[in-house]
């Protein structure tokens, strides 16, 4: 099974620039106002609605056409707000991340072997590494995937600063793997996304998500098994305008020596999928995988 996704935005570079200018001169209020119009326009386009149809159809199986139109609008609206908040965080600052996750991650410093944070594309996930770097009391590394032609800019790119965390790119293969292990050995927090498979070459396992099979990546579990680092399921939540928090769903200890076979990691990936599904039950409009995971 190989579902295709892209990190590229639906909006053009010009459209993004208009929003960034609006944030700069009219604040998030002005940007949200334009966003409402843009989201309404995009919701009317079947090509955009189709991108969330597979998820919303399973999350709201009884919804008719008009109800589904509203669900699509709400999903796009929430996503758009997260993007506005991210840009505003870099342009004018002021994004507030509740620090209630600090205590639940304090064991990382005590054990001294680093922690792998496995996240979903939820809420204000793009701002969570900054929050971790500023509040968790240890260095943070993000394992990222980018595509040519990405126009979305991160908060620090707007601010013209370096991010308060390190980024490693999955495409760099062996070097990235060694660097990840070294970061864990130094007691760092390592942020990896757990709900999207990057291409056909990435090791993945089949899990049940909303009652149907999907592929989810298993590299993070293998890294946890090899390194001995605990693995923590985390989901970012947008709690309001320019506000967010990080939910710590579960802390896992993957046994050492599970080796190369992806199927050995299936039970752990299934637990992640189950937690992610539970998250979407509570926050249905904060799950941002705009492609058919089941395709």
């Amino acid at each position: 099974m190989s579902a295709r996704w892209s990190s590229r935005s639906v909006g053009s570079r010009l459209q993004h620039a208009i929003f960034y200018a609006l944030i700069r001169f009219a604040g998030t209020t002005g940007a949200y106002a334009l966003l409402a119009i843009v989201v309404s326009w995009y919701t009317l386009r079947p090509s955009v609605r189709n991108r969330s149809k597979a998820y919303l159809g399973r999350r709201f199986p009884a919804a008719g056409f008009w109800a589904m139109l509203l669900h699509t609008w709400k999903l796009q609206w929430t996503f758009g707000q997260c993007l506005v908040d991210r840009a505003a965080a870099g342009i004018s600052g002021g994004f507030s991340f509740a620090e209630n996750f600090r205590d639940r991650l304090s064991f990382a410093a005590e054990e001294g072997r680093g922690v792998i944070l496995l996240a979903g594309h939820t809420g204000c996930w793009q701002l969570s590494p900054t929050a971790l770097a500023e509040h968790a009391g240890t260095r943070v590394t993000v394992l990222a995937h980018t595509e040519d032609g990405d126009v979305d800019r991160h908060a620090h790119e707007h601010a013209g600063t370096r991010p308060p965390y390190e980024t490693l790119y999955s495409r760099e293969g062996v070097g990235t793997s060694v660097a990840l292990l070294n970061r864990l050995r130094e007691g760092e927090l390592l942020c990896i996304m757990g709900d999207r498979v990057e291409g056909d070459a990435e090791p993945a396992v089949t899990v049940s998500f909303f009652g149907s099979p999907v592929a989810m990546p298993c590299a993070a579990y293998r890294l946890a098994s090899a390194s001995g680092a605990p693995l923590v399921f985390t989901f970012a939540v947008r709690t309001g305008a320019m506000q967010g928090t990080l939910r710590i769903a579960e802390v896992l200890r993957i046994p050492a020596g599970l080796g190369k076979n992806p199927e050995n990691y299936q039970p752990y990936a299934q637990r992640f999928a189950s937690e992610l599904e539970r998250f979407t039950r509570e926050y249905p409009y904060q799950f941002f995988n705009f492609y058919d995971l089941w395709g």
């Binding site: 293969g173 062996v174 070097g175 990235t176 793997s177 060694v178 660097a179 990840l180 292990l181 070294n182 050995r185 090791p203 590299a219 293998r222 890294l223 090899a226 390194s227 020596g257 080796g259 190369k260 076979n261």
Partner: protein, 83 residues
């Protein structure tokens, strides 16, 4: 047992390489991609294995990438750092 023999035996056993015997691994064949066909995640396990078996920490990413070119390169890396 010399370093190359220990490495080959450990790679086959700990990376669960089915249908591969230690003696099948050539000293100068690529370990990743072609040759033995290890992937980037195998690099993590290989790094842990080298530390456990030989007490050598592979903390220099560029040096580690060169060391992972072949059994010969890895053995040479280990010999240099053990002494």
């Amino acid at each position: 047992m010399d370093i190359r023999t220990v490495l080959k035996k450990a790679i086959v056993e700990e990376l669960n390489l089915e249908d591969v015997l230690p003696e099948d691994i050539k000293d100068d064949a690529p370990l990743f991609g072609e040759g033995l066909g290890l992937d980037s995640l195998d690099a993590v396990e290989l790094t842990v294995l080298v530390q456990r078996l030989f007490g050598v920490v592979m903390d220099d990413v560029e040096a580690a990438k060169e060391a992972f070119a072949s059994i010969n390169a890895l053995a040479s890396y280990i010999e240099t750092r053990k002494s």
